[in-house]
């Protein structure tokens, strides 16, 4: 009833507004007073008071100024007739608008309607900072950068975090693979030696939400995403990135790596009931697939190997049938007829139906390349989302409710995910002094399967490493052996444990069923006009059930497998904050103090049936062996008190001082209390000194801050872990990690300076920041030689320093009445350096998700240094620098790890261009990353297995039939018996056929890459066309008669083009590990996807 009422009111209002607008457009000439009147509103239709309107007659140089009233009305009661006049409308926080070419005659009056557009990077801009406090950006003494929700929603990514890439200087994203996967965020590089503790804190409307991916234990597990990736971009008003400790010092411990403050949309300012709908559809395809060779098939040294696809059925099927060798070092794919796994048999079966006792004789089929195997395996991914939001407000209350349905299918068959999210945000003014606000968000995520990732049986890319070029993947689509459906898979190779990829995708799913709720409730009591107290409780909770199924005949689980893993997580926050502000002369000050209690618990329960009694029934009851179970529980609590003091002098100089003390449960009693302060200042030079009117803003800022951090739970006392029973006998084994009774809190400090400059009516803006961060006493496990009895011990270690520069440049090179071109540039360069580690310790291995290479932190070096074995090289003489070839024709590998490069880019640059013409816009974002290296395991393994295109050319230089007869010779140097070096390759014609020490073609490639990290490097530099958007806001004239406020339609694309040096992989990838994504390693990740889609948005 109430709503209906408001809708009709709204409708009337809309009509009124429309009529006003129409009047403005027509600029109707009327008889009456010789004056100009008008109304100024913002984009949401609210009247704007205090707007300065300047009338300027360019022929007479006459000018006059008026200011709009509270209701947005302005009146020039007397303007001299003539012209041409232009009206310049300017207001803090809004783009200046100019209306030109008006002539005023004695008997005409002019009526103008102006809609002012909000500016993003502007003086009047307010930002949401720590604890949800809204501050004028001008008052901040540190760098922040905001991304509007609209930007994220226009070109949606299934994880909105990915949409931040290239839009914020200093923010780096590594994306996982597969639908719903996680994304790793770092701000200003790595400051923690603990590789997985470098991500920022994420706050949604005051409540922390985790981005730490929670992954199953094990080797090749899927990426199950993280809570923040489930956030619905349609509900986001803005994301504000607080980059350094100064910005985040009030969040305490967890914010040392920066904070993403997400503010969700509310119903505030929306009179009556509004309904908005956003929907979209996106298609996804692989952006770049590895290039394979198509000249040689399965086998070894040019001959077919093996018998009957590796399964003789107790001798029933004898020799003479090929393919149990999973590398393409076989004969030329010349179309000869051979018996293959997918060849028909005279009994109507397939050659590979080896479990069928009446399979019969195989009828040979042509031996040819299956060129498009990988392309044929992947499918087009689809994303469909629909989001409806209702919002409204009146004098005492406001609310916004949204429902979003998201359905996605990935490029791996059977990989899908659906999510339903409900979000309610409401505010109520209980009295003139007491207001209440509440937010609740519930989302349910279901996925029937997420793909396994990494190097191991069953992951899609692993199977492609070992899939011979003559194996036609389309023949594997019927993946059961006839008569043994549900019991025995059909595959091309039973000897080497290669699961049929379709069988694996459809029958061995890793599902997920996750419920997440977060929300908060806040009361604010205004004791006096300048004294208020706020209390808030918030929670973030999820329950994540992950059923894992494996069918009978899976090579790793011949009798099937079923596992249920349940993760639970809950974090509760209780806050209060008292605020007092007042003026003292020209000083305005603001004094607050508050407190917080944070409780967090997480747990997991894993129950496993290692063998199933009956096939194809996935229930823990259907176990033929005793169920195995394990559990993990963790709790922690932090209490904090903080205070901050802000003052400004005539809004020209701002100073902010904060202090916070934390008490943490995870530290030993003597060290569990720690204090950290911050101070920063912002000086508006343009207000202090007289400057050219072209200068809209010239601000300098300076900040110093400290942040403390605690440990993970249970790192004080070393535990004895419970071991699996042996015939009912229990036992314990001490943890290999020695804990530390004397842990101290971590401490980081940041010094940053910056300047903001805005010129020419804000058409040119520059924001420059330099910073230096030092982080000390880091808590981490230090590897110790196992001969000490322990593999690691927990220590307080070292010092890492980060230095960097961030530059943001905004420009509007062209702005006419209808056309505008704006450019945003985000540049960042960060160098993290290891100052010290621990007495006597030179290096710490941070991560090693590949084969041999490690990411090391070494004293005096930059963080992210990659080390591993490489080529031995000649160190002097005329062949200096050449790789050394051993007597077996293989490059010699160094026994010690050598420096290979850095996984981090040297610099990043995002360039966004936006063109608008009337209601249409075109926007494209380039993401440029320069420098850095990545180790590719796929390239290493698939080259060694003779699958990639690199292994084709050399073999083709030999006469057919003699490809494998004689050795191939690598270029390099050979140590002769007299101690001199001689060049190994003697004839440089590309055939590698004459030299000193040679080897067969397999070794020629395999031994070049295998266990040689240097050979596996690819350049990480790339340029990506990250986003392209083409949109149109339909003019209201087109639907003036229906109660619709606006309609916009856009076509969007993400990751549309990639320029990089290697032809196989997008180097912007990370290895998925149990602890999260690790950069610098391609560990058989899925190809990056390119997406194209369409979005529709309608507001009623």
């Amino acid at each position: 009833m109430h709503f209906t009422c408001n809708v009709s009111k709204q409708f009337t209002k809309t009509l009124m507004l429309l009529s006003l607008l129409l009047q403005g457009m027509i600029l109707s000439a009327q008889t009456g007073r010789p004056s100009v009147t008008g109304i100024v509103r913002n984009e949401s239709g609210e009247a704007l008071g205090g707007v300065v309107i300047k009338a300027d007659n360019s022929s007479t140089a006459f000018t006059a100024n008026v200011t709009s009233s509270e209701k947005g009305i302005f009146i020039f009661s007397k303007l001299p007739a003539g012209g041409p006049y232009q009206f310049i409308i300017s207001h803090v926080g809004y783009f200046t608008d100019t209306l030109s070419d008006y002539t005023i005659s004695e008997n005409n009056s002019l009526s103008l309607a102006v809609v002012m557009k909000t500016r993003n990077q502007e003086l009047g801009q307010v930002v949401v900072t720590a604890l949800g406090i809204v501050q004028k950006k001008a008052a901040l003494g540190y760098a922040t950068q905001e991304v509007k929700g609209a930007t994220l929603n226009e070109a949606r990514d299934n994880n909105f975090v990915n949409s931040l890439s290239g839009r914020v200087a200093g923010l780096n994203i590594i994306s996982g693979s597969g639908v719903g996967s996680s994304a790793r965020i770092t701000i200003r590089g790595e400051s923690s030696l603990n590789y997985q503790k470098n991500q920022p804190l994420i706050i949604v409307d005051g409540v922390p939400v985790g981005n730490d991916p929670v992954q199953n234990a094990g080797g090749t597990v899927p990426d199950y995403g993280s809570s923040i990736g489930e956030f619905n971009p349609a509900d986001i008003e803005s994301v504000n990135v607080l980059k350094g400790a100064a910005a985040s010092s009030l969040y305490g411990s967890r914010a040392a790596n920066g904070v993403l403050v997400i503010t969700t949309k509310s119903g505030k300012g929306r009179k009556g009931l509004g309904v908005s709908y956003t929907g979209g559809y996106t298609w996804e395809n692989p952006l770049l697939l590895p290039k394979f060779q198509n000249s040689f098939g399965g086998g070894q040294d040019g001959t077919f190997v093996g018998s009957n696809f590796g399964y003789s059925n107790n001798g029933k099927y004898p020799d003479g049938v090929h393919e149990d060798w999973d590398e393409s070092w076989g004969p030329r794919l010349d179309g000869r007829l051979i018996t293959q796994f997918d060849s028909p048999t005279d009994n109507g079966y397939r050659g590979g139906d080896v479990y069928e006792s009446n399979r019969g004789n195989i009828i040979a089929t042509p031996y040819v390349a299956a060129r498009d195997n990988m392309k044929d395996f992947f499918v087009t991914g689809h994303t469909r989302f629909n989001s409806v939001a209702l919002s409204g407000s009146n004098e005492v209350s406001n609310f916004r409710f949204s429902y979003t349905n998201n359905d996605e299918t990935g490029i791996v068959p059977n990989n899908n995910l659906s999510r339903n999210s409900f979000n309610l945000k409401a505010g109520y003014k209980l009295s003139s002094k007491l207001t209440a606000d509440a937010l609740i968000n519930y989302s349910k995520t279901n996925s029937s399967s997420r793909p396994d990732l990494g190097y191991g049986q069953g992951t899609p890319m692993y199977e492609f490493v070992w899939m011979n070029r003559n194996v036609n993947i389309n023949s594997l689509r019927r993946y059961w052996q006839p008569g043994l459906e549900g019991i025995q898979q059909f595959t091309q190779d039973y000897a080497n444990g290669h699961d049929n990829p379709f069988f694996y995708a459809y029958e061995n799913p890793s599902g997920q069923n996750k419920d997440q709720v977060y929300g908060n409730f806040k009361l604010n009591y205004k004791i006096l006009d300048n004294l208020s107290i706020m209390g808030r409780v918030g929670t973030d909770y999820f329950n994540d059930l992950r059923p894992r199924k494996m069918a009978y005949s899976t090579f790793n689980a011949t009798k099937g497998f079923y596992q249920e893993t349940i993760f639970k997580y809950q974090e509760n926050n209780y806050d209060f904050l008292v605020n007092y502000n007042n003026n003292a002369g020209d000083f305005h000050y603001d004094l607050s103090f508050g407190g917080n209690t944070m409780e967090r618990s997480r747990s997991n329960r894993v129950t496993t049936a290692n063998q199933l009694l009956l096939p194809n029934i996935y229930s823990l009851n259907n176990s033929s062996v005793a169920l195995q179970g394990s559990s993990y529980d963790e709790r922690r609590k932090t209490n904090s008190l903080y205070a901050f003091f802000q003052f400004n002098y005539q809004e020209k100089v701002y100073v902010n001082i904060t202090g916070r003390n934390d008490w943490s449960s995870t530290l030993p009693k003597e060290h569990n209390s720690y204090f950290y302060p911050s101070v920063n200042t912002s000086i508006l030079l343009n207000k202090i000194f007289t400057m050219s009117p072209a200068v809209n803003l010239f601000k300098v800022r300076l900040a110093y801050a400290q942040a403390g951090n605690d440990a993970d739970p249970y790192q004080i006392i070393t535990a004895y872990n419970y071991q699996a029973l042996w015939a009912g006998i229990p036992s314990l084994s001490e943890s290999s990690q020695l804990n530390n009774l004397n842990l101290k809190p971590e401490k980081s400090s940041t010094l940053e300076a910056g300047t903001e400059l805005s010129l020419f009516n804000s058409r040119l803006g520059l924001d420059l920041t330099v910073y230096k961060t030092s982080s000390k006493n880091q808590i981490l496990p230090l590897q110790t030689p196992i001969s000490s009895g322990y593999g690691a011990r927990i220590i307080n270690a070292g010092e890492i320093s980060n230095k960097g520069v961030e530059i943001q440049l905004n420009a509007v090179p062209v702005r006419t009445g209808k056309f505008e071109w704006s450019v945003n540039l985000n540049f960042a360069r960060n160098i993290s350096k290891v100052i010290s580690l621990y007495p006597g310790v030179e290096k710490i291995v941070q991560a090693a998700p590949g084969e041999d290479a490690t990411i090391d932190a070494r004293v005096g070096e930059r963080m992210g240094a990659l080390y591993g074995p490489g080529f031995q090289r000649v160190d002097s003489g005329s062949l200096k620098g050449m790789i050394v070839i051993g007597s077996n024709g293989r490059p010699q590998i160094t026994s010690n790890a050598m420096y290979l490069g850095n996984i981090n880019p040297d610099w990043t640059l995002g360039i966004n261009n936006r063109f608008t013409y009337k209601g249409a816009y075109l926007e494209f974002l380039f993401d440029i990353s320069h420098g850095g290296v990545v180790i590719s395991r796929f390239i290493n393994k698939a080259t060694g297995a003779g699958q990639l295109i690199e292994t084709e050319g050399v073999r083709l230089t030999r006469v057919e039939g003699h490809v494998y007869d004689a050795d191939y010779f690598r270029d390099g140097a050979v140590l002769m018996s007299d101690g001199s070096y001689q060049r190994n390759l003697e004839v440089f014609d590309g055939t590698y056929s004459k030299g000193i020490n040679g080897t067969g073609p397999r070794d020629f490639y395999k031994r070049y890459y295998d266990h040689n990290s240097e050979a596996q490097l690819i350049d990480r530099s790339f340029v990506k066309l990250r986003e392209l958007k083409l949109g149109y806001n339909f003019p209201k004239t087109m639907y003036a008669k229906i109660p619709v406020q606006n309609i916009s339609l856009s076509f969007v694309g993400r990751n549309l083009a990639l320029w990089t040096k290697n032809q196989h992989f997008d180097p912007e990838t990370g290895a998925s590990t149990g602890g999260g994504l690790v950069g610098g390693f391609e560990n058989l990740s899925l190809p990056t996807t390119r997406s194209l889609g369409v979005n529709l948005s309608v507001n009623f």
């Binding site: 008292v578 062996v625 009895g789 266990h1011």
Partner: protein, 510 residues
């Protein structure tokens, strides 16, 4: 009113900051025990983890190092022998299990539990013996002291000193176990019998003494100690048959079965030609236990065996006419994925066998190191018991082929010149040693160590695809010691020689 609110705020603040009382409780780890007060809670996992670990390498790296099996990756002496691989592949990770052994030793010692302390010493000595034999000089006197003494970079001790210390500590173990009154609970290896642990201790001591018996200039008198042990069975009891020996029986439980049972097929391991040659020379029926008939011979219905030489690289797969003519690993070591009849319990985790001890005594008697007993008797005890033992395992396995009686030797087996205890001392020693090498199959790296000591079997030699031109004499140190114990590592190399595969360990050096 407003003052009330301010007061409320301050009260809340005080409440918050004062609330650290529950912190200790919150930070108490519910996932593990904070301390262990009873040896029986440590012993089972020590035995299980160490023996499973040992068994696993026995089938793979050790079977190639001992030249029982051929595998193209391991016998190139690069892949599996790189410093990043040897921690697990060559049992440097025994230090992981030794942590719990040390906890058991200290706990038992502090509580006066002599039996349990003795057991800890036996297990400790066994594991250190395996590690020093594989690597040479190792951290010993300062090892395992991370928690107790804050030593996180232990120095390496010379192998000679490690040997003296182990021989001594096994003597202590025997005495402790003789005097102990404390119950031995949860003993999944020796069934709680202190006597069997003493037999283990004394047999192990003989193994150590035999291994260094060829050295000159020793600081201990090897013949004298060996003689004392062999001559005083009351003080120094020894195994009476395979039923006493130190071998862990796996059980029919997930995670406690034969360790490779759930592995992928091991199609790239085959019977080595060295093993095949020596078994066939004796017409030894145990070949049916040690390997599977070739696939082609199974098809033909006439089981036959075919070996593959080590060190021929990828030529392995076409050797002898292809994999159809090559014997795969023993049926008792087969995973169920390749061999549907595979057994979870037939293979045992063998540590020290009755046969090995008898062969040690035979050699000692033959060389005059001891004077008690008869060399031929010791030798035949060793050979006979080995057959009986393997037959008993086949009874457990209950395969359709081979059955226990398929490997029972005929009388002619013992009378043939290659087996009968006849000939010169060198010939007799060769017979003892080749039978001992057979018996050490699937017993960790002992077969390799014995080859290093005796060069039996004589056929063991590197192949054309090997990275080095002699058969390896030791394993390289793991990467972790190179990089995070670098000073002690460097010091060790100065004493022992280069960290490569061809530097002999101390007891082999002449």
């Amino acid at each position: 009113m407003k003052h009330n609110f301010l007061l409320f705020g301050f009260a809340a603040a005080l409440l918050l900051s004062g609330c650290t009382k529950d912190f200790e409780n919150i930070n108490k780890n519910p996932n593990g025990a904070q301390e262990v007060k009873n040896p029986q809670f440590l012993l089972p996992s020590i035995i299980k983890n160490a023996v499973r670990n040992y068994s696993y390498t026995s089938e793979f790296t050790a079977s190639v190092a001992g030249d029982y099996y051929a595998n193209q990756y391991t016998s190139g002496f690069d892949d599996a022998w790189t410093p990043s691989q040897v921690q697990g592949g060559f049992l440097w990770n025994f230090y992981d299990q030794l942590r719990d052994v040390e906890n058991l030793r200290i706990l038992s010692h502090d509580k006066g539990f002599k039996n349990n302390e003795g057991i800890a010493l036996v297990l400790r000595s066994w594991m250190f013996q395996v590690v020093t034999d594989n690597f040479g000089d190792i951290p010993y006197s300062e090892a395992l002291m991370g928690k107790t003494a804050g030593i996180f970079a232990p120095k390496f001790d010379r192998q000679e000193d490690v040997y003296y210390a182990l021989i001594d500590s096994l003597n202590t173990a025997n005495s402790l176990l003789a005097a102990g009154q404390d119950p031995v609970n949860a003993d999944i290896l020796m069934g709680g019998s202190a006597m069997r642990w003493r037999m283990f201790a004394n047999g192990l001591r003989l193994r150590l003494l035999m291994r260094i018996s060829g050295k000159t200039g020793l600081k201990i008198d090897v013949p004298s100690i060996m003689g004392t042990i062999a001559g005083d069975p009351t003080t120094y009891p020894l195994f009476g048959s395979y039923q006493d020996q130190a071998a862990l029986s796996y059980i029919e439980e997930q995670g406690n079965e034969f360790p490779a049972y759930y592995n992928n097929p091991v199609y790239d391991y085959h019977l080595s030609t060295t093993f095949e040659t020596n078994l066939n020379l004796l017409n030894d029926p145990r070949i049916k236990y040690y390997a599977q008939p070739t696939p082609a011979s199974i098809t033909a219905g006439t089981p036959a065996y075919g070996g593959v030489p080590n060190g021929i690289g990828t030529a392995e797969s076409s050797y002898g006419g292809g994999t159809a003519n090559q014997s795969q690993v023993s049926p008792v070591l087969q995973p169920v994925s390749a061999f549907p009849q595979a057994s979870k319990t037939a293979a045992q985790g063998m540590i020290l066998t009755y046969s090995e001890v008898q062969f040690i005594l035979a050699e000692a008697r033959e060389r005059g190191l001891i004077t008690t007993g008869d060399a031929a008797t010791y030798y035949l005890n060793g050979v006979n018991d080995q057959f009986t033992y393997l037959e008993s395992r086949l009874d457990v396995a209950n395969f359709s082929y081979p059955k226990a009686n398929d490997i029972t030797p005929g009388a002619s087996y013992f009378t043939q010149p290659e087996v009968a205890y006849t000939g010169t001392t060198d010939e007799k020693l060769y017979k003892i040693r080749i039978q001992k090498w057979f018996a050490l199959f699937y017993n960790g790296f002992e077969g390799w160590s014995e080859w290093r000591r005796t060069r039996v079997p004589k056929e063991t030699a590197p192949g054309p695809n090997s990275a080095i031109n002699i058969w390896p004499l030791r394993s390289r140190y793991p990467l972790s010691e190179q990089t995070i114990n670098s000073q002690n590592y460097a010091a060790a190399l100065k004493v022992q020689g280069p960290d490569d595969l061809v530097t002999p360990v101390w007891w082999e050096k002449q």
